[in-house]
Amino acid sequence: MKVKILEWKSFATWHWDLATSADDSGYVEELCGICRVSFDGTCPNCKYPGDDCPIVLGSGCTHNFHLHCILKWLEQESSKGLCPMCRQIFTFKEPEQTSDVLINLKTLIDGHRVMRERFQQGNEQEFEAFGADQDLQMA
């Protein structure tokens, strides 16, 4: 018997290779703590999982998030730059390899840091202005 292959389809599955962070109960956190979507899926703003929507790790703590989710949170004034899970200052773990994707990622993270520093300065000024206003009203 001769079999002739007319057409074939290939597919593959993949998983993020994550540093697992287990809490006291030994439960391994596989959901993004912000959007609660599994890390095999994208954040709510992206369509395709993978390189455009990477997972980032904190360097001070062991919490993982979609890059887009944690950036969006850190951009909020109310975040005060803290990790949503443990409320320590959230710092990004520097990517070790230097593929294009990771270089892009680093650019994003640096950009964010600059933005946040500017943002915080702005805040202090606003705060002072607000204090002055109050004095006026009380006088």
């Binding site: 703590g33 959007c35 609660r36 979507v37 949170w73 909020q76 949503p84 409320r87």
Partner: protein
């Protein structure tokens, strides 16, 4: 209306399938970001005999910002004002996207069990509370009988 984020769908499903004891939260049919909430007054508090109605709304940028929650039932409490607004840190400065509707509602229930007149919102109630706690607790009980739904 924009599609409902997965997170809100998941939270709602869990609130319905695995409700918190003493708390109900039902999404409105025409706006899934709006919830009708009831909270049982905690035992051993002046609110113990009542069930309180609240409304909860998830703003567009939830979970980046906290849900908006307000008491609809009149309540005598140093951290809840005449309009039902609640003074609770996790609803304001200490919000984190790691919190959820259910953890927020539990915090509100805990606040009923532990009034904090030193961090007031309803100033006159907090003043009364500090001047004469026994009397304030009496009034809180009276208001519970008068305005809240009776517990079954």
């Amino acid at each position: 209306m924009a599609a409902l984020p997965k997170r809100i769908i998941k939270e709602t499903e869990r609130l319905v399938s695995d409700p918190v004891p003493g708390i109900t939260a039902i999404p409105s049919e025409d706006n899934l970001r709006y919830f009708e909430v009831t909270i049982d007054g905690p035992n051993h508090s002046p609110y113990a005999d009542g069930v309180f109605n609240l409304e909860l709304y998830l703003p567009d940028d939830y979970p980046m910002c906290a849900p908006k929650v307000r008491f609809l039932t009149k309540i005598y409490h140093p951290n809840i004002d005449k309009l039902g607004r609640i003074c609770l840190d996790v609803l304001k400065d200490n919000w984190s996207p790691a919190l959820q509707i259910r953890t927020i509602l539990l915090s509100i229930q805990a606040l009923l069990g532990a009034p904090n007149p030193d961090d007031p919102l309803a100033n006159d109630v907090a003043d009364d509370w500090k001047k004469d706690e026994k009397r304030a607790i009496e009034i809180a009980k009276e208001w519970t009988l008068k305005y809240a739904t009776k517990k079954d």
